[in-house]
Symmetry: C2
Subunit: 911 residues, 2 copies
């Protein structure tokens, strides 16, 4: 004996449910109850709860005990509320049966209309409406829907019959069929139904209802619905609700009609009633597109009273829901009914405008305004977009990862040099590579878009592109690139160098040919929303930027400083690479000889070694001398653009082999520039080769084995700071030592840096403290995280490099994980790609542990994050919860981080 309540009734003055019961009644059912309770004219009905659906499955697809009685009782109540009778009588009660989960879910069998009709009630309906055509049309629709939804009679078999009858009648549209034609349709439909199901079409209304409810329950787990939930990562729902509602007819004649409308413009956000309607039509007809609906404003002419009521309802609903509403209405012989309301889907653009407008209108408060826009939606506002109409027409030839949002159209090139050459000639280029490397930086910089056939969301191409705000599709493995032939193949098309292609970096779609793009506008409302958000935000937001240009963009977007300035990008531009390669060629010779000299006791041997050292040391020092002023100038530019904001600069990080040409042509060129044999270059490349470059000779390991490089960088930073300060701009450099694993590394690196800084202060005659600087470290190696109490001794700040921390902590390289990470996410091992969304359970534990240990040693140690996760909303919220001081992300993600950080504070207060 179960006393459990499964059925929730709604009719004027008799409402069991409310909008808060979405989980239980589904979105549709909850809103029907809510509307009823606030006096909106809703056709009465009842909702069978999602719990009933769950029990249905628990019991092996059987109705739970008590449900049948509750449904019967509700039908009785419905008969009473409407004055109609179900399945018999002069005034028959017809109902619709609709699925409705807490989240909208295409794929479920969703609607049966006109349920309750049989040969007898059909006659009553015809008599009552004096409209045989309406009656027969309603009946044939019911048979078709019931047949399809409940009994799996193929939809197209019904359509075939309809077509044949139309042909016979010599008409084109369904609406042109007469009552007699429809009678013929019904006859053939019933025959089809019997042929397919071996049963007569049911005439008992209760049985019709029971079977329809079963069908809706069953459709919750049909393959399409399951697939949809999987793809859209919809979890935690227990089932669908079923809404049974009195039918109303918009096709009862010239004073009837139906429409769909939004309380505001969902595309622009404009506060103007928006929608369309059709007179003498049913809901499907509006969507079907056979007749062209009229704009909603015209309803005021057709039916002024109904329109006036609708306007009032619009206001009432917005005031009640405080959010844009998407309504369906039907007018049955002048009487207006609202069939459905829900929060309207809108563009990011509209969302921002409405949040600010509603705030002004005092419809919502600041906190609600801030919560109204999903941080990730802001992406849409920050990148060029394809013109939707043009994009629709274009041919998709491949799909990759949406690595950096935006849209780009351009001519394909297959190497960075050509990209630069063509760009210099004024061409718009798309750089297409199997994968990119730091050598490609020049080409990536000038490219309108970047396409790679290999690599993930945090591959080199993706990271750099996001940093630059350049549209990028990564890992489009359907694209087979042939560098030799300078072409790629995809979906049977061959694209040659110079051909036009288009990239949608937000969807990952690659198109053949040109597509028109639309430039984004940074609306005033967007700025206003950000300001409101900043009132609540506590977490700082910085940016990852390596150039004055990127810095300026980021500051514009509200960055409060630079959290990660990668200095290695500065070694690639122009002639610098030559100087740096000069250095690389002799670096280890210099190091080894110096070591040998230090360890040699014999004076003669020492002298011999010192002589050997001269030539390479000269070259080494020359290279450093060439690089120093260039780096200094870089930093000056960035410091100026920051206007006094702090700047975390990471010393050289990538392994040296990344700076050498890997291909024979490049090696030949380099040899000729350096004036050495090609074999020397090849030997150096071979010598520097690493099995696992990710875990190789890079980061502080370079600075410790070649301290002169770090010293040059620190000198450039501090001299630049001194120069900029002289111009009256304050500078806050924060020197960041990368890839620390052991406190001793940091202790030594810090000491080396401080010696240089002291020297700069002395030479420039600066007072101690006149340029406030910090020295800190990335926490990106697990060992550093678990020994952060020790590391903090020598660190003024920690910046979590969550890309590498994820790679090493999870033990997979971002460039290789593609081979299994997809399967992993599919299997639910990781809920999301941990390179996109911080794995808070695992890597997050390391971050939390490190923060705790670091603060134990140094209470006020500054804590930030500079990995790619710094611009991903849920990761930003994790950082806020963990008590970090700031996040840092690419310039175009700064607003996203600001909004996410504000939302964190608001959400936290709620809970």
């Amino acid at each position: 004996m179960s006393g459990k309540k499964y059925v929730y009734f709604f009719a004027k003055g008799q409402t069991d449910g409310s909008a808060k019961m979405k989980e239980l009644l589904g979105g549709k059912g909850a809103n029907l109850a809510e509307m009823t309770s606030i006096g909106i004219p809703v056709p009465p009905g009842f909702t069978i709860s999602t719990e009933a659906c769950a029990k249905f499955y628990d019991a092996g697809r059987k109705w739970p005990q008590g449900l049948d009685k509750q449904v019967s009782d509700s039908i009785k109540k419905l008969e009473k509320a409407t004055g109609k009778t179900f399945g018999y009588g002069d005034n028959p009660l017809l109902v619709s049966v609709r699925s409705g989960a807490a989240v909208s879910m295409p794929g479920m069998k969703d609607t049966v209309l006109n349920l309750g009709l049989n040969e007898k009630t059909l006659q009553s309906l015809i008599e009552k409406t004096d409209n045989p055509r309406l009656g027969w049309d309603a009946y044939r629709r019911f048979i078709q829907m019931f047949g399809d939804v409940v009994m799996d009679v193929p939809h197209h078999d019904f359509e075939n019959i309809l077509e044949k009858v139309k042909k016979k009648a010599g008409v084109k549209l369904d609406t042109q069929l007469t009552a007699d034609d429809l009678k013929e349709v019904v006859k053939q439909y019933k025959a089809l139904y019997k042929k397919h199901t071996k049963q007569d079409f049911p005439s008992d209304a209760k049985s019709q209802l029971t079977k329809s409810v079963d069908a809706v329950f069953n459709s919750w787990n049909n393959p399409r619905a399951v697939k949809y939930r999987k793809i859209n990562e919809i979890k935690g729902l227990i089932g669908t609700a079923v809404n049974v509602q009195t039918m109303v007819f918009g096709n009862m004649g010239p004073t009837s009609g139906t429409g769909v409308c939004f309380t505001r413009n969902p595309s622009t956000g404009e506060n103007k009633f928006y929608g369309e309607f059709l007179m003498n039509a049913q809901g499907e007809d509006v969507v079907a597109g056979i007749r062209t609906p009229e704009p909603i404003s015209d309803l005021s002419k057709e039916m002024p009273a109904a329109y006036k009521e609708l306007i009032k309802i619009r206001e009432k609903l917005e005031k009640h829901y405080r959010e844009i509403q998407d309504l369906e209405f039907t007018i049955e012989e002048k009487k207006l009914y609202i069939l459905q309301t829900r929060n309207g889907k809108r563009t990011a653009h509209a969302a921002v405008k409405m949040a600010i407008d509603m705030l002004k209108e005092k419809l919502i408060n600041e906190k609600t305004a801030v919560m109204r826009v999903k941080p990730e939606e802001l992406d849409q506002l920050l990148h060029p977009m394809f013109d939707p109409a043009s994009e629709k027409k274009a041919k998709v030839i491949a799909k990759g990862l949406p690595a950096s949002p935006g849209a780009a159209t351009g001519q394909v090139v297959f190497d960075a040099d050509t990209a630069e050459k063509w760009a210099a000639e004024g061409k718009t280029v798309i750089l297409c590579r199997i994968e990119t490397s730091p050598e490609d930086i020049g080409g990536m910089h000038v490219a309108r878009g970047i396409l790679t056939s290999r690599g993930g969301m945090t591959s080199h191409a993706a990271v750099v592109a996001r940093g630059m705000g350049t549209c990028c599709i990564a890992g489009a493995d359907g694209v087979v690139i042939d560098y030799k032939k300078k072409q790629f193949k995809a979906s049977g098309s061959t694209v040659k160098q110079g051909d036009w292609i288009s990239l949608n970096g937000s969807s990952g779609k690659l198109y053949l040919g040109k597509i028109d793009t639309v430039e984004p506008k940074l609306h005033g409302n967007f700025g206003k929303l950000m300001k409101v958000a900043d009132k609540y935000r506590k977490l700082g937001v910085r940016t990852n930027a390596d150039t004055p240009k990127d810095t300026a963009v980021a500051v514009e977007y509200g960055a409060e400083g630079i959290g990660l300035c990668r200095t290695e990008h500065m070694f690639f531009e122009g002639d610098r690479i030559i100087s740096f390669r000069k250095l690389i060629l002799v670096a280890d010779t210099v190091k080894n000889l110096k070591n040998q000299i230090e360890n040699t006791v014999d004076e003669k041997e020492k002298a011999k070694l010192e002589k050997q050292l001269q030539q390479p040391l000269k070259q080494y020092n020359e290279a450093l001398k060439e690089l120093l002023p260039l780096q200094r100038k870089d930093f000056e530019g960035i410091f100026k653009a920051l206007k006094g904001r702090p700047c975390t600069i990471r010393l050289l990080d990538p392994p040296l082999h990344e700076f050498l040409p890997q291909d024979s042509k490049g090696q030949k060129e380099m040899a000729s520039i350096m004036g050495v044999k090609e074999s020397v270059i090849k030997a150096k490349v071979e010598q520097l080769h690493e099995f696992n470059p990710m875990l190789g000779h890079r980061g502080c390991r370079l600075g410790l084995t070649y301290p002169e490089i770090s010293a040059m960088q620190v000198r450039a930073i501090m001299e630049a700071a001194a120069n900029v300060k002289k111009k009256g701009i304050s500078v806050k450099p924060e020197i960041m030592i990368p890839l620390i694993g052991h406190v001793e590394e940091l202790r030594i690196a810090r000491q080396q840096a401080e010696e240089v800084i002291e020297d700069v202060f002395k030479r420039r005659k600066l007072k101690k403290g006149s340029i406030p600087y910090l020295i800190g470290t990335m926490i990106e190696i697990p060992r550093a995280a678990v020994t952060s109490d020790q590391v903090a001794e020598y660190a003024d700040f920690f910046s979590f490099g969550t890309n590498d921390l994820t790679q090493m902590g999870c033990g997979f390289s971002r460039d290789d994980a593609g081979k299994f990470l997809g399967d992993y996410v599919e299997m639910g091992i990781y809920e999301k790609d941990p390179f996109m969304v911080l794995d808070t359970e695992g890597i997050g534990r390391l971050v939390e542990m490190s923060c705790k240990l670091g603060r134990k040693t140094k209470k006020n140690i500054k804590l930030g994050i500079c990995g790619e996760h710094g611009g991903e909303p849920s990761s930003v919220k994790f950082c806020a919860a963990t008590g970090l001081d700031y996040v840092s992300c690419s310039p175009f993600r700064v607003p996203i981080a600001r909004l996410a950080a504000a939302q964190f504070v608001i959400e936290k207060k709620k809970n």
Copy 2:
């Protein structure tokens, strides 16, 4: 005013120091005091403490306050004790001044003899001894030593003078010089001294003493001594002590003499007095090798009384020190003096025998016996060794890392195939490779020794070689290999295929030509010592073994089971590689098609895909079917060899590309065997290529994406277990899932394994529990360590894979770290190579954390370690301290681990 005691006097009945004061008095000084206190005839003297040396440096190389007075007072006491006077009088007091730190340290200036001599005391000495030659010889030695040690007068300038005088006198030996000759030598020495120092040779005895003490203090920090401490990692010492001791003369005539002896044979451990002596000679003469010393037993004939006394002293010292003693003695006119005693240096062989002998003799107890042998010394007992005499004569041509101990002589080959071919022909081969890969396994197995020019102590070659107990030198970067020419060059020598070379895997030295080897014997004493150790040991010791042969060896050495059985080695032997390659060729096609089929709704499309799947699936299943019986047989062999001991079997771990030929020749061969185009193989190799294979598609990631492979392995394991059990041998399989990072991986892998096990039980009609099995995981990914509370839910055991945990935790790959790890150890960043000695501060924290979290979830979870560290003594002790249940190491390291584990228990009780 410092009342600090710096000087410790020793003379019969007047001893301030003791053997326990080594830190303060140095080893030599402490033992002189100790001997004096137990009544051994020691020439009286005093020791200036190491604290005085430290204060000397603190004060900028000046004597600390109070030292001067204490030295003067001690001289007075010495005069009183000996009845002699210092620097004057008829019976002059002559002393020796010797350095002596807590640890023996070559490189310090160490000895000045005959101090106190001047023109006057020389005459007194001559008169008193009636031996002018002795007097002048003593004086010239004093001047030479003082000049060299205190004033840095070049040693060879003194030698030149001596040579000239000898030439003039027409003699060959120093001893042939007359008193007059020596007088001439003294004259010229003094002139040299004055020329070099611009001072007269000092005649004031106190001043001689002061300067000598200064010189000893200063020599503590001379470059050679500093270097020695650095190389030998001697840390924590504060300085050297200085021993001032009354001179006795073994060269006073026919009833005088001197000798050096050991209380037992330091080479064999035999309990027999061992040593040699010279009559009428000074200590240096014994060492100098000009006269051939006589065996100590002959002293009984020469001077029976002195010998009898010496024998008594031998017994007394051994009883007192309970350890082999290394003594120096002098007989001055029939009176025996002991000048020094210290624990004797001995071979591992001797150490083991002595420990067991002394235990039998009740000289020491069991705990002491166990502590007597350093675990790492046991290596010497377990591997073939070069005959020392032959090795001395051989030419060293390169030096690499001592990657796997032992010695090997053989003919060089440069590829595994040739190694196998030649070995089959009965040749002894040394496999020489730039680096080895799993493809080389066959060749490595048959090679007597392995030499690589690249890679570290835990490179593939090193790990495999240690596992096999095969001698190996890794990373000998002086060896330049030319595969094409089939030769290598080193130190100017060219070694061609077929030439003989010799490897000392314990020292890393590579020799040209053959060297005779000596096979090790597993002495009975060694077994006895192990048994005693096992009484105290609590930690379990297992082995890493992949073959029945290795397993049997390990069991012989006391392994209590297998802690790591790597199944991948089993895929390389013979034709198996062909089956496995067949599988690899189609694996991802099968996987992708299966995925597509699962996700396809359209039935037609589904059918099409299923047809496409047929052929590759057939090949895939065939390969699995071929592999199953082979694997099963492997496991049967191992289970039998284990005789009921537990066996942890790791499922396939390395990335698939390791199983494909990387070179063109191999690819061609494979293509022809498989009957496919070469391009197919090349494309697969290219497709499987990884940027960071260490962080790639391997371990459980393979098993999860290709579950059929794991299923085959699990089936092979359980069927083998069933077969062996049927023969009455109990079997305890422990299935280990490698490379777990996330609990979900383990949950799924475990479930898959359990399904297979259930199926085997069903088919074999086995009762539940009749074959007790465990399923657990490696903890080798940092994420798994920090989420071990979660992982433990599905793990019956954890086995710490500290190799990979070190790589990922520290963020450096063992194959690449060579480029900086040397510098790092030199800089003291890591005290030791963390691949050799577990980094307990960092990686150890992860291990501790994981144990704690794991036990929190599952109190009795079994914990072990199977990384290379499992056989390294200090790491073994860490494992014991952390509360692991067992360590696992290569067979030849099992005794080492057993001893280390026993010592841990004994050391812990002490503290």
